[in-house]
């Protein structure tokens, strides 16, 4: 009688168990970082460094142009409220000859229409407006002979005067400049 010869045995399950654990895809984050860097280099309207603005954008929206807040009018990559847009319109108006200036009422209406439009969600436009607003704040503090106009401008921008916002993005910007192809400085900043 012939005996059955066992060629090979195994105990593995026939159907593999799927691994549902999330895997962080570094490549996509890095691609987005490069994209944001290009946008900032082309649209930064301030004297602030590219790295500082990148860190600010990450802090504001995590690079998500559709980020929304609860109860404020914040919109776009730099999460711009209505007030900064109104202020920029007001400053532009003041540069015109007196007889060509518009009434505040009309200016605010125009600024709000812009803020409510899809234009502000355009990433390049959002960066241009946000950085122009920062520059206006810096110039105001410079004119006031502030010892550190940038730090003071960020306090005005942030609405509280504890300095946490600027110190965090400044420290992260230095790390990002040293290692421009890594998201780590940005992630550490908001831990």
């Amino acid at each position: 009688m012939a005996t059955r010869r066992v060629i090979r045995t195994h105990s593995a399950q026939l159907t593999s168990v799927s691994d549902k654990k999330g895997v962080h895809v570094e490549v996509e984050d890095l691609a987005r970082l490069r994209e944001i860097r290009s946008l900032v280099e082309a649209n930064n309207r301030s004297t602030l460094s590219t790295e500082l603005i990148i860190c600010q954008i990450y802090m504001e929206s995590r690079f998500d142009k559709n980020a929304r807040s609860d109860g404020s009018s914040a919109r776009g990559l730099m999460q711009l409220l209505k007030a900064p847009i109104r202020e920029l319109y007001r400053l532009q108006n003041l540069k015109k000859p007196r007889r060509e200036r518009k009434r505040d009422e009309d200016l605010y209406r125009e600024a709000d229409e812009f803020h409510d439009s899809d234009q502000i969600l355009d990433e390049a436009t959002n960066i241009r407006i946000g950085t122009a607003y920062l520059q206006a704040l810096i110039e105001k503090r410079t004119a006031d002979h502030s010892a550190d106009p940038v730090a003071e401008a960020y306090k005005d921008y942030r609405g509280v005067r504890n300095g946490i916002y600027y110190s965090k993005i400044k420290a992260a910007a230095e790390k990002l400049a040293a290692n421009p192809e890594s998201m780590q400085a940005l992630r550490d900043m908001v831990k």
Binding site: S72, M78, Q79, L81, Y108, Y157, V160, K168
Partner: protein, 185 residues
């Protein structure tokens, strides 16, 4: 004579038009001097310049009149034991700015806790020793944690502590007040 009457009428009409409008009054408890009025004037579009009025003295919400021009301003007078005035709105910063006024039970001085975030505050913790404002982050801002707590220690003149956290603060005898967002002025 007729012209003088018309001129007087115009002056009165103008005076009424620019007079500060009382928005709300909050009695923070204790003596009559703890009553705080919120008033506003100088309307442009949906914005006004906002002031606090206490003991007959009127001062802008923030540093000056320019920085106190706001829209979407929400004001609440809350608390069943101790009372507090809670204000949030869009003023000149790129964040919702707000503050809480409450009365120190030991010396009856009205103390102020300032905060600014992109979201409205969701809870207020009031106790004789501490005032906490809890604001959800929704994953954006200076921290990945769920909430930012602005903490004022009663009697302290220091800047409020800013504490990122995933958990709501412990009640610890405080009255916890849910703040809703439907009081725009």
């Amino acid at each position: 004579m007729k012209n003088s009457v018309i001129l007087l009428c115009c002056l009165f009409a103008h005076a009424f038009a620019v007079a500060a409008e009382l928005v709300t009054t909050c009695d923070l408890g204790g003596k009559a001097s703890s009553r705080v009025d919120v008033v506003r004037d100088s309307k442009i579009a949906d914005t006004y310049v906002y002031y606090l009025r206490q003991k007959g003295s009127k001062r802008p919400f923030f540093e000056d009149k320019d920085s106190s021009r706001g829209s979407s301003v929400q004001i609440a007078c809350v608390g069943s034991h101790a009372r507090a005035l809670v204000v949030t709105g869009e003023f000149t910063a790129n964040a919702l700015q707000g503050f809480v006024l409450s009365r120190n039970p030991k010396n009856a001085v009205v103390e102020r806790l300032d905060f600014a975030e992109k979201n409205r505050p969701a809870w207020l913790y009031l106790s004789p020793s501490e005032t906490d404002v809890v604001i959800p982050t929704h994953g954006y801002g200076e921290t990945n944690k769920k909430f930012v707590v602005y903490r004022h220690v009663v009697g302290s003149g220091a800047e409020p502590q800013v504490v990122p956290t995933d958990e709501l603060p412990a009640r610890d005898g405080a009255e916890v007040i849910k703040l809703d967002g439907d009081r725009s002025r």
